[in-house]
Symmetry: C2
Subunit: 183 residues, 2 copies
C-alpha cells in the first residue's frame, strides 16, 4: 500500500549522559542519516514502558481520574495509567493499575495497540487497553502520591469533555478517542 521505502538511521555511538534512577535515562547518539550526513548529538529519552486503560462500565460510563497533575501544573482529567514493572506483561500492569487507582475490575480486556510518545526523543512507549464491563469491587489503593478523585463520564458526554479541554493529556485523549473510533 505504501510505496516509498524509508531507511532506518544508523547509530554510530550511544552514550548515557543522565540517569534519574528508576525513572528515566538520557542518551546522546551519533547518528548517520541515509544521505550520509552525520549528526553528533541526537538525544534519546528512555522512559519505562507504560499503559493507559479506557475502563467502560456496564452503563456505558468511562471511569476517569481527576487530580492535580504536577507535570501540567493544573487539575485535569486523565485515564488510569501506570508504568510497567519489571517482569510484568502490559496487560498485567493494566489490570493492576485499574484496581489500584480506581477500585474497578474487569474480565473483558481488549488491546488497542502501542504507540510512541515523542517522534524524535522517544520517551517510551504506551500500550492502550479497553476494559469492558468494569465494575467497582474495592476501594482505590493509596499507593500513589496523587490525591485522585474517580469520576464517571457518560460516553455521550465525551465529545463535550474533549471540546471543553477537560481531558488534560494527549495520551488520555488518544486512548479515549481511539477506543471510541475503532470499536
Amino acid at each position: 500500500m505504501f510505496m516509498k521505502k524509508h531507511t532506518f538511521w544508523k547509530v554510530i555511538e550511544n552514550k548515557d549522559v543522565f540517569t534519574a534512577k528508576n525513572r528515566f535515562r538520557i542518551a546522546v547518539q551519533k547518528i548517520k542519516l541515509p544521505n550520509g550526513k552525520v549528526i553528533d548529538d541526537y538525544y534519546q529519552i528512555h522512559f519505562p514502558e507504560c499503559i493507559l486503560v479506557v475502563p467502560v462500565t456496564p452503563k456505558n460510563k468511562i471511569v476517569c481520574l481527576r487530580h492535580y497533575l504536577h507535570g501540567f501544573k493544573k487539575v485535569g482529567i486523565v485515564l488510569p495509567s501506570g508504568t510497567i514493572e519489571k517482569g510484568e506483561l502490559p496487560l498485567e500492569t493494566a489490570k493492576r493499575e485499574l484496581v489500584e487507582e480506581t477500585g474497578y475490575y474487569s474480565k473483558e480486556w481488549r488491546y488497542l495497540g502501542n504507540y510512541g510518545i515523542h517522534n524524535n526523543y522517544g520517551c517510551g512507549k504506551v500500550y492502550f487497553f479497553r476494559a469492558n464491563n468494569a465494575t467497582k469491587t474495592s476501594n482505590p489503593v493509596s499507593v500513589d502520591i496523587e490525591n485522585m478523585e474517580t469520576i464517571l463520564i457518560d460516553k455521550k458526554c465525551i465529545s463535550e469533555f474533549l471540546r471543553k479541554g477537560y481531558i488534560a493529556s494527549i495520551g488520555s485523549i488518544a486512548a479515549l478517542t481511539l477506543s471510541e473510533m475503532v470499536l
Copy 2:
C-alpha cells in the same frame, strides 16, 4: 460541575540537573504535598512548546507525513508538527511548519486547545490546530533531517488507519481524533 477541590503541590526547591542545549532541560524538585509529605526528587522535563496540525484538503483528505521516526525506531505516519521558536505565536508556528513540511497552505485555521504530554514529568505542552481547505502551493522545504513523504488520507479511512496502528504517535492520534470528534 466538579465538586472536589484539589490543591496544587508546593515546590520547595528547584534545581536544573541536565541541559541538552536548545532542546530540553531536566530539573529536580523538592515538593511538599497537600498532606504535608515531602518528596526530595521529583523530576521535571522541560521541552519547548510545540504544535500539531490536522490539515484537511477541500476533498476531505488529511495531509500526513510518513517517515522513519528515530524516537520509535520505526517508519510511521504522523501529522505535521514542530517546535515553537522564540517570539513565535503557536498559530504562526503551525502555519510555518505546515508549509515547510508539506508545501500545503491554508487560510482557515481553528485552534483545538493545548494539552500536556506527560502527567508527571511534563515534557512540554502541545497546541493542536486544524487547517481547513489546505491546498498545495509549494514544495516542502528540506529544513528537517527527516526524509519525509507526504501522504493524503481520506477522512473515511482514518478509522482503518488507526485500527491498523499506522498512526504512530499519541500526539497525532489525539489531534486527528479530536479534530474529528469535536468539529
